[in-house]
């Protein structure tokens, strides 16, 4: 009897399980079709625009030739910085394969600050991960930013195509092209909490600081010196996507290996006289230039140690030296005040080293000798060197 019931139960289990399976299969199909339906109706609203129609027109041609194509689109990052705009999806990548060959089409979009941007090739759920060996693609692991290249027409294999006039420069940019977007959403939340400073003084400062930053960037780019937003300027970018109105200066970082001796002269020629120079190339170098409207440009030089980076500080009165430690970082591009500039890719670690965990809260009084959590006393300059390492103008 017990065996009978065991068998009955087994049979019952099997039966109900199969019934449920059928039921599930039916609904699975249903959900999939519903999902596709939703995606379709969405495309009506968003995939419009002439660019996109041209883009759409491209595929039938490729597909008719026997290519299998995969395309990705995303929302337009150029609208992200503006409150509450939405609508257009822009094409990012397209991969067309034919047997063992694949063509990777990367769509570059022009952005404010006269540079080109391409998006991240994001593999969404439904994309076949083995479509092509994605790891081997040159572009798309990250979003990227490039100088807008001048183009020239060349004929390759009888085909007229455009290539950059300076292909070497373009190719050199590729490995360092990683781009990070400003955190516009978080910035909006920040302004909801702390409100934007709309006073005339704040706006005048932001305007002068922006002009100073643009001038500095132009000068350094001309010299071919890499630099990034540091300290308060970096915090302003990361926290609120703008210049902090009560900061008094613009802060840039440069690796000491990139230092060039004609930097001071170049700034002077650009109309930015040297205000002070602390330290020397071998140790704790820091330059400060006087911009218009009392806005100062501080350039900190960064030194590399075995497991951290640091820059130095000097107290003019006492000759005391300080050292500001940062975890090691690499550089990424971003867009700030209509410009393509670098920031540390590991921004949050960089900012937390400099401002602590509570960097989100605006603080108007900041003592550069005591406030930063990453400051360390670093001895004192020998009096004999003072003339050289403490220069005030």
């Amino acid at each position: 009897m017990s065996r009978i019931s065991k068998n009955v139960i087994l049979a019952l289990f099997t039966l109900t399980s199969s019934a449920f399976l059928l039921f599930q299969l039916y609904y699975y199909k249903h959900y999939l079709s519903a999902k596709n339906g939703a995606a379709l109706s969405k495309s009506k609203g968003s995939r419009i625009g002439f660019d996109s129609t041209q883009w759409e027109g491209w595929f039938p041609v490729a597909e008719n030739m026997g290519f299998q194509c995969l395309k990705t689109e995303s929302k337009d990052p150029r609208l992200d910085g503006i409150d509450s705009l939405s609508g257009t999806e822009i094409p990012l990548h397209c991969i067309c394969k034919w047997a063992t060959h694949a063509i990777h089409l990367v769509v570059f979009h022009g952005r404010s600050g006269s540079y080109l941007w391409h998006g991240h090739l994001r593999l969404k759920g439904h994309i076949d991960r083995k479509f092509v060996p994605f790891q081997k693609l040159q572009f798309g692991h990250y979003p990227g930013a490039f100088d807008r290249p001048e183009l020239q027409q060349v004929t390759i294999d009888g085909l007229e195509i455009l290539i950059p006039k300076d292909p070497v420069h373009f190719l050199e940019e590729v490995p360092h092209s990683r781009f990070i977007e400003c955190r516009y959403k978080e910035a909006r939340t920040f302004f909801q909490q702390y409100l934007d400073d709309n006073t005339v003084e704040a706006m005048t400062f932001q305007k002068s600081a922006k002009e100073l930053l643009q001038l500095a960037a132009k000068t350094l780019n001309k010299l071919g010196i890499r630099f990034w937003l540091s300290s308060g300027t970096c915090l302003g970018w990361y926290r609120q996507c703008s210049i902090i109105p009560y900061s008094k200066d613009v802060d840039l970082g440069i690796f000491i290996q990139d230092y060039k001796s004609d930097i001071i002269l170049a700034f002077q020629e650009a109309g930015l006289p040297l205000k002070h120079k602390f330290g020397k190339v071998e140790d704790s170098l820091e330059l400060s230039f006087q911009g218009k409207d009392d806005v100062k440009l501080d350039i900190f030089f960064f030194y590399e140690d075995t497991d951290y980076m640091w820059n130095g500080g000097t107290q003019a009165k006492t000759g005391r030296k300080f050292k500001y430690l940062f975890p090691k970082f690499t550089l990424c591009w971003t867009e700030f005040v209509d410009m393509k500039v670098r920031v540390p890719c590991e921004t949050i670690e960089y900012i937390e080293a400099n401002y602590g965990k509570s960097w989100k809260i605006p603080i108007k009084t900041w003592d550069w000798k005591n406030s930063p959590p990453n400051v360390q006393p670093n001895g004192i300059w020998p009096i004999s060197e003072w003339d050289d390492v403490i220069q005030l103008y």
Partner: protein, 660 residues
Amino acid sequence: MDDWKPSPLIKPYGARKKRSWYLTWKYKLTNQRSLRRFCQTGAVLFLLVTVIVNIKLILDTRRAISEANEDPEPEQDYDEALGHLEPKQQRGSGPRRVLDVEVYSSRSKVYVAVDGTTVLEDEAREQGRGIHVIVLNQATGHVMAKRVFDTYSPHEDEAMVLFLNMVAPGRVLICTVKDEGSFHLKDTAKALLKSLGSQAGPALGWRDTWAFVGQKGGPVLGEKHSKSPALSSWGDPVLLKTDVPLSSAEEAECHWADTELNRRRRRFCSKVEGYGSVCSCKDPTPIEFSPDPLPDNKVLNVPVAVIAANRPNYLYRMLRSLLSAQGVSPQMITVFIDGYYEEPMDVVALFGLRGIQHTPISIKNARVSQHYKASLTATFNLFPEAKFAVVLEEDLDIAVDFFSFLSQSIHLLEEDDSLYCISAWNDQGYEHTAEDPALLYRVETMPGLGWVLRKSLYKEELEPKWPTPEKLWDWDIWMRMPEQRRGRECIIPDVSRSYHFGIVGLNMNGYFHEAYFKKHKFNTVPGVQLRNVDSLKKDAYEVEIHRLLSKAEVLDHTKYPCEDSFVPDTEGHIYVAFIQMEKEDDFTTWTQLAKCLHIWDLDVRGNHKGLWRLFRKKNHFLVVGVPASPYSVKKPPSVIPIYLEPPPKEEGAPGAAEQT
């Protein structure tokens, strides 16, 4: 896997039968122990497999759902969301091809429900009076249009007739009356309702309630009516419940050739109604225009921002004229829609243009102003290389030579710092005061209504101090303020290159439009060659004005300037009149003169250093304010400047009316 349990609800039916069947089976197998074992193991394995597959399917379905939800669909306005609901049985393609429709009409409330989904509900007080009309797609049950015609008021019935005539045959029409819908329902409208098969519609009386469902050009599917018993009371509320049979999709659609354009057209026409011949099966209006390219087009790469709200019919008309203008480049056009409205977006998609929606910020004028700011910023972000942007609004017709006009004049904006904008609109360019399409002016006021903005002006001056949302300012008034304009001027044509046709709007109504906009002159001549464009530059313009004034004949100042004979019946002469203008901001006489000339008199427009230029009877007519204007020196000593008394009483300052 252990917690998986079969549903306890599913019990074996006919247990006894099953048992006997099982016994036979058991008997047969008793001696084949190994086979039995095998079967049991097989069953267990099968059970395991189905359980695993079940779980996988459950997980997959869940993921599919959560992915579908992840896509952040924009929030939709309440009625938009409603408008978009599709009846449920569409999906399963079940056999029931019938919609069940409920229509309610009463004094204070109307509603329409399609398959249990409310597609219209209006019980707001003091609004929504008249006949509500809903158009459903006969194949899908989709709401394609929703309108209300306040047929208690005059002319609304004409709009209704126009609309109903545009609806394609076969569509399902639903009408319901709220409050009162008969007072100005004239014979034409009644005849149309009769032709739709309605019995009660043509006989609709004062404060009757009425609900109607019918197919255009087809059968009536239901109608209910309740007469008002007395003048002071309303008909009883009526609730009409009826079934609407759905037809197949093929019947509902036209058979246009399968092209990219027609795919866009089909998508549009299956969604919305009320656009007339664009959805006509036999002879649809084109949606692609190939205007002649403009030789040496200087504005080919200038982005065009079209600022729109929720007036899709206006947007449709506007985009048609814009895309027909010579030298237009459609890929430079972006339409910015203030709000998550579907229908304007559908119009944009019909023409294959780029559309961007904007979550509304703030209210009324400030909302418009925030929308402008976001749109301008976005335009320069999307076209980082652009030095200018053309700003248009959804209620403008664009002249055929709009881009030609800009192409010929845009270099002025680059070369002359004293310029604020180039505008296609002449505030004083009425049919009786504008004449010469080749002529340009410099004016101290900023007309808007189709204009060119310099990027540097926007980025460096305007954007940083644009009015914040809490300031309920009009963007255009703000832009006209001296702090922003800083003495700079705009270039305008004598004959406008845009035409303001909007009569519904934030600051707009029919009367106002009739009085100030309807008679505006609008250029229809293609390829006009502008005359002497460089004389519009700051210093050259002064030379030109002095030349004109020297040539001008002084009018007889003893005559009353409002009289027709003040300007002689000649052609091609230049006349000058001197009016009193004590200070730079003394416009007393000018305002009176503007009033009697029937031109813009609500504030001062079109002046340049106390000088106004217009045409009277095909003569160039200059008005100089003495002594404030530097051109007063041209006044002969004997001439006494005209002084016109303002009306004795300030009856209702007309300051409220402003164009948007």
